[in-house]
């Protein structure tokens, strides 16, 4: 199992095989049956990389085939928003206000989010919001691979985000894993959550959820340009370079990512995060996912996938730099440092790591 961030690490270390030769070999892959075009283009692009540190995602060889799709959207408690006349947020300012109103009126945290000091806390709601806040322009590194967290827009957005979490979030934000946040929302303990789209499968399952049928879905709050730029992630299957049975390994990958297998995974095993458009469009899947949020779920996700991209600049130390960034968020949350100072500190640590890893001159 790999994915964009891991591929950057694995390719640099020379651990993983490019898959194009297998894909284009008619003896191994029946193109008409495999229907490679059926995968969402954004997911395929996420798994391509030309191997150049600092750029080139979406170009060059494909290193892994996506088995699931993950983009980031807002899920909110429609019942609470309707009852107290709260506006579904379209900007960051409105989101802060909505979270405040939920907490004030309904007495539960207005928003839950991942908060543990690890890269995973950066990658979903927080990171997508930051990208959207700057109309998709801001990157974590400049052209020379200098860490750019100290950028005024990033600092400003982060101050707003952390202030919102402190004011309206749960008291244990700093110790929340993805499943803690997801479960809090599913248990009716939060007004909003900005995280993986397919968490909806849990929210909408009446056997597990207290909020089934009460959830609405919306895009991440947009920046001045009015457009959302969500992050994108995908778990995908790649092949180890050291394997002795390369063709057999590919045949397994091909089977595991075939339309029939993935359709069965969705319908038979409730994996509602299809990486192929034909599965999303299958009537049986439409019947289930199409009902979520009164139809708003599928509309939101399909729209989101038009602009969703991998948020990060490719480099093999991405997990490490994300961890440092997340620790910066803790410095701000616990008021040890101002946002500007915390990010200056994180920048210098990130630059140091990249130098030590010989990625940067």
């Amino acid at each position: 199992m790999t994915g964009p961030v891991r591929n950057w690490q694995f390719v640099t270390a020379d651990w993983i095989l490019p898959l194009d030769d297998f894909l284009n070999n008619p003896k191994l892959t029946d193109a008409g049956w495999y229907k490679f075009d059926d995968f969402y283009p954004a997911l395929i692009a996420a798994n391509r990389w030309n191997g150049k540190i600092g750029g080139g995602v979406g170009e060059g060889p494909i290193y892994s085939i996506p088995v699931l799709e993950e983009s980031y959207i807002v899920a909110y408690r429609k019942d609470i928003f309707d009852q107290y006349n709260i506006k579904v947020p379209t900007t960051m300012e409105e989101m802060v206000e909505a979270a405040r109103q939920v907490k004030k009126n309904a007495g539960i945290p207005g928003i839950v989010a991942r908060g543990t000091p690890s890269a995973a806390s950066i990658g979903t709601g927080y990171g997508s919001g930051l990208k959207s806040y700057t109309d998709g322009k801001w990157n974590e590194f400049d052209g020379k691979l200098n860490s750019s967290l100290h950028d005024p827009h990033a600092v400003e957005y982060t101050e707003t985000w952390i202030a919102m979490v402190r004011e309206s979030g749960p008291p244990n934000w700093a110790n929340m894993q993805w499943y803690d946040a997801m479960e809090a929302f599913t248990a009716g303990q939060a007004g909003m959550i900005v995280d993986a789209d397919f968490f909806a499968a849990g929210y909408e399952d009446p056997k597990k959820s207290k909020v089934a049928g009460k959830v609405g879905y919306a895009l991440i709050p947009a920046g001045p340009g009015g457009k959302a730029y969500s992050g994108l992630f995908t778990w995908a299957l790649g092949i180890n370079k050291a394997t002795r049975n390369k063709d057999a390994a590919w045949l397994f990958v091909e089977w595991a990512t075939a339309q029939r297998t993935l359709l069965n995974a969705t319908i038979g095993y409730r994996n509602y995060n299809p990486s192929r458009a034909s599965i999303t469009n299958d009537p049986r899947v439409q019947e289930i996912m199409g009902a979520w949020g009164g139809g708003s779920y599928l509309k939101t996700v399909v729209k989101n996938l038009e602009t969703a991209r991998v948020l990060w600049i490719p480099q093999p130390e991405r997990t490490r730099t994300g961890d440092i960034w997340a620790r910066g968020l803790h410095d701000i949350y616990f008021q040890r440092l101002s946002a500007a100072d915390a990010f200056k500190k994180a920048d210098s640590e990130i630059d140091k790591v990249l130098k030590e890893a010989d990625i940067k001159p």
Partner: protein, 301 residues
């Protein structure tokens, strides 16, 4: 005929000691080899995803630790946690042992109950507490505290809260161990000094202060030694609850070494941190063992 039989017997007798030693030798090699490998790697820049750059760098990993702010914090937490955990656990453990040693009704059942936490895998203990420590009223701990008018406590989500929470969880899991050692010791103490004290009319407190504690000293030191070594390298409880957060407040040397080795794959650096921890444990246990020997001699006299 007889000579062949003798020779065969002689050969069997010569082989026997080696045969009996074999498991110990295998164990020794199994321990010494990874240990030496660990020391060797700590002197290299071994970084899993850059295998081609592997080289020997002498003590650079150790020197770079000095300029690593997280190392200072982790060292501070490791030592501070150990000091507090040992004092609390041995103190409470002694109290529990004295209580269970007294002639009270139902003490057999209580002794059996006391052992329960020892039977739980530490990770399960930690996860159980993590669920109970949920920060809203959904957490059973805060729910129960609400009956006595205590506001919800932010157990694992605040920096101080997380430190205290981990102390509580670790204490819950290890208190029985200390109590067990001290209870066993109490039951084995000679009865004569107590009879003499009773004849002299000594108060219970004087008996505790001048007879029980001095006689128990070697056992208390034994418990302190075990708990010090374990607390210096506590891992499971932290890993299962906070992973070292929030804001690195519960990152000790173990957690830090794990992050460097298996999250960021800098094996050389991670190994150097583990070796520093090992030195700490060795020094602490050497000092404590010497104190223990001295106390044991004194009691023997």
């Amino acid at each position: 005929m007889t000579t062949t039989r003798n020779r065969r017997r002689w050969r069997q007798e010569a082989a026997l000691p080696y045969l009996l030693l074999a498991p110990a030798l295998v164990l020794l090699v199994g321990m010494v080899y990874p240990f030496c490998l660990g020391i060797y790697y700590s002197l290299t820049n071994y970084w899993l995803q850059y295998p081609k750059r592997f080289r020997f760098i002498w003590f650079d990993n150790y020197i770079s630790l000095l300029s690593e702010p997280l190392f200072a914090r982790a060292l501070e937490f490791t030592l501070g946690f150990t000091a507090i955990a040992v004092v609390v656990q041995v103190g409470l453990g002694l109290a529990v042992a004295l209580f269970l040693h007294a002639r009270i009704p139902g003490r057999k059942a209580m002794r059996a109950l006391m052992l329960l936490p020892l039977m739980m895998p530490p990770v399960i203990t930690a996860l159980m507490w993590k669920i109970m420590m949920a920060s809203t009223n959904a957490g059973i701990l805060n729910y129960m505290l609400s009956f006595i008018g205590v506001d919800p406590i932010n157990w694992l989500g605040s920096t101080q809260g997380a430190v205290v929470s981990i102390l509580i969880i670790d204490t819950w899991g290890n208190l029985p161990f200390v109590s067990l050692i001290l209870l066993g010791a109490l039951q084995a103490l000679p009865t004569e000094p107590y009879e003499a004290a009773r004849v002299d009319g000594a108060s219970p407190i004087a008996t505790l202060r001048y007879i029980t504690l001095p006689l128990l000293a070697p056992f208390i030191l034994l418990a302190v030694t075990f708990r010090t070594m374990d607390s210096l390298r506590v891992f499971d409880v932290i890993y299962a609850t906070t992973m070292g957060g929030p804001n690195d407040a519960t990152t000790n040397l173990q957690i830090m070494a794990l992050q460097y080795s298996f999250q960021w794959y800098q094996m050389g650096k991670g190994m150097a941190q583990a070796i520093v921890l090992l030195l700490l444990v060795v020094v602490a246990s050497a000092v404590l063992m010497r104190l223990w020997n001295r106390a044991a001699e004194r009691t023997a006299q």
